[in-house]
Point group: C2
Chain length 455, copies 2
């Protein structure tokens, strides 16, 4: 047997081909017509971790999209580490904005373009390959290891809130490593110390039984789009604050130290503005752009629709209008309580001539804060320092990974983020890509990290 590094070197062409196979599965968890594809992705993952040498491989039913579990528990006296990732992906629309089709991966300039390339298929394949390299080159792992890969992260892991507390024995571990994360840049690593939570509602406004002629009825029958826009416009004040009563009540105020920590991480406003092509930034008054996304809650309309969207003119008075809204939450907001506040506030509005209904969306994640000195993060920081040669930034993420707070609350295990995505990789957008250099770098990094954790 050679070293794990020899093994990795020799098998890169095969690993790359496997990555492409994985990316071809359109495992979109949000769309029911793709449920079979999510299942297919689970089967692909189960087969792949089996081939890597893991044991007790299982595809476990959750009531929704499945999870894949596997373990290797032959390192008595060593810690038990659980590696997390997800094999589902975001929807890929609008398809016409992709340079190459989202599920026909294409390599351009050392980047592989596909939906899920960065978030999270490329990243979650990395530790599987690292484990295979360790097992095939050394016949054993330096720690006890569990894999926990899910198929519902992109819809907010709706079934895991039930699943994890019911499987605490199976999932018991000392720490979690999440592949669903990234680094600051190709030169600069990071340690993740916070995530936002989230929740959401859909608003449905109904006026007449069918679309009406705007000449025959316009002026007499309420337009549901007018009603909906009135409701939505009222959810924010002009200074960017959310107006839903009670929305900020449980928000932990930023301490002077928090603000200093956040300010230490560079933010190039001009470069960011140019890269996003926005005319300017906008957000809640009294906070810096970074504070707004890392440490303040938001309410965003993710989609709105009603009436005629085609080319030209259709003088219709629509019968319905709809909006999907999600919030990002920060400690110590409770997603269930925020959904109640939203439903209560919107339902209480009186708009004549329409029926307004509000229902929760299947997205509910607690916000999450990790102590900087948590043991997993201490080792992650050490490894990253070695690989990159610089001290990592301590950052929060504006995104949500619902399982992190579930692992913490039900398994007593903190999650250290250890992934190799980068911010420019268009996750959740057209032309998502993953760097092949990150794919390779991550494999060695995971081998090193697992060895270090086994010492």
């Amino acid at each position: 047997m050679g070293t794990w590094n020899d093994y990795l070197e020799q098998n890169q062409p095969r690993f790359f081909a496997e990555l492409l196979d994985f990316l071809r599965i359109p495992s979109i968890s949000a769309l029911s017509e793709h449920a079979a594809d999510v299942q297919r992705a689970a089967e692909w993952v189960a087969a792949r971790v089996t081939a890597a040498g893991m044991e007790h491989v299982q595809i476990l039913a959750t009531g929704g999209h499945p999870v894949v579990y596997a373990d290797w528990l032959h390192a008595p006296g060593k810690p038990t580490v659980m590696i997390y990732g997800h094999f589902d992906v975001q929807p890929a629309d609008p398809y016409d904005l992709w340079t190459s089709p989202p599920f026909a991966p294409e390599v351009r300039e050392d980047r592989v373009y596909a939906r899920g390339a960065s978030d999270d298929k490329g990243n979650m394949l990395v530790p599987i390959l690292a484990v295979e390299a360790l097992l095939k080159s050394q016949g054993a792992l330096p720690v006890n290891l569990k894999f926990f890969f899910e198929g519902q992260e992109e819809i907010g892991s709706p079934q895991l809130g039930d699943f994890i507390p019911k499987h605490t024995d199976l999932l018991a571990c000392d720490m979690v490593l999440s592949s669903d994360g990234g680094q600051w840049s190709e030169e600069q690593p990071l340690v993740l110390v916070g995530l936002r939570g989230g929740c959401g509602v859909q608003i449905d406004v109904k006026a007449a039984k069918a679309d009406l002629h705007s000449g025959m009825y316009g002026g007499m029958v309420q337009n549901p789009i007018h009603a909906l826009t009135t409701i939505i416009a009222g959810l924010h004040a002009a200074d960017g604050r959310v107006t839903v009563p009670g929305f900020y009540d449980q928000v932990r105020p930023l301490s002077a130290q928090d603000r200093e920590r956040i300010a230490q991480v560079p933010f190039d406003a001009a470069a960011e503005k140019a890269s996003l092509e926005v005319p300017g930034f906008f957000g809640e008054a009294g906070y810096t752009p970074r504070e707004r996304i890392w440490a303040r809650p938001t309410l965003e309309v993710n989609g709105i629709w009603g009436g005629f969207q085609g080319e030209g003119v259709k003088t219709v008075l629509p019968s319905e209008a709809h909006a999907k809204i999600t919030c990002r939450l920060v400690a110590d907001q409770n997603p269930t309580q925020i959904v109640e506040l939203l439903i209560d506030h919107i339902s209480r509005q009186v708009i004549p001539g329409v029926t307004v209904s509000v229902k929760p969306l299947a997205f509910r994640a607690y916000p999450y804060l990790v102590p900087e000195d948590e043991p997993g993060n201490v080792v992650v920081r050490e490894i990253l320092h070695e690989i990159y040669g610089v001290e990592p930034f301590y950052v929060r993420s504006g995104g949500s990974i619902p399982v992190c707070s579930l692992f913490q609350r039900h398994l007593g295990a903190y999650t250290a983020s250890f992934g190799f995505a980068l911010d420019d990789e268009n996750i959740h957008s057209p032309d998502e890509f993953f760097r092949l250099s990150s794919f390779r770098k991550g494999q060695s990094a995971y081998c090193t990290l697992l060895e270090r954790l086994g010492r």
Copy 2:
């Protein structure tokens, strides 16, 4: 030769088959992919009026969808009557709300269901059949007759504003009869004395270059849906009035007599509410529902869209949001001026973090009022009284037929509405239908009307 009535009786089965053929052509003027179908409908009409015995049949280019012209001018000393109608139809979406497909006409209980059945293909075929019956049974018509059928009514006749003034010799006439209209009920006729005009704009709001992850950017980058809903919500006051400065400046106030005329026409609010299945009516404060649709201008959002509209959750911060808006106008508002006011008002709003653009839509119609004692209307009233046995209601319509004001301004001819649609026929909505009884009744009515005009 028999009478025109014998001819009509003998040919009903063929006429019905021809109606179905006409309805099968998806001549949707609003959608460019159906331009060839609109052209095909023009060819169908040209062939049909030729078969009816009309002369000088021409399909005339307009720069947009064509018009069909034909004449029969062998009644010296008699008035020249031009009959108007349109062979284009509204878009048919949402398709899934149709009981039978919109372009596969189906007869259920003496009604033919198809897009355009009532508005206006069924109605415009009626005078063609009447003219055929007169020519075939009597060898001549009682008046000089012109047909003017257009293919762009449903998009606001954008090219006719140029076309009609350029063809005043060809189109010269003493009066116009419009097939694009209806009666009050199966028992109650009407005389149309007013139409609303119209115009429209599209609002496009752009934030970042692409859809963004709502976790990574939410709170820092403006959401274009928030911006758009703020703009739209601000276009109406809570009391239903349009807030665009200057919008009402040219509106002719309702006189006490106008209000009395309108109040004479019965309005069963409870029945109307039940039929539309609305929880209540809503419109501009200070006016009755009927005054609002007949004699007050409106601003309606016909469609709104942006971001994710699919099933489930997609936590996206959209890059764009859009809305289509049309206004209905009343005398003496000027559609060109109202478009300028809208563009000016919306463009002047300052919303940070987004680019807002407003462009005119191809819909521009002057409002139209006909004197009650205009000669065409006097004869129409007389005939309707004979057919129905009751005095017609004098009504206005909330809809717009842009050519009526063009005929008046450029040909000096008023238009008398003489059509047989009824209000429940779902025009512009799913399950549009036309009564076969109206189809038959209209043919005799047109024969009688033309005879009377020839006396």
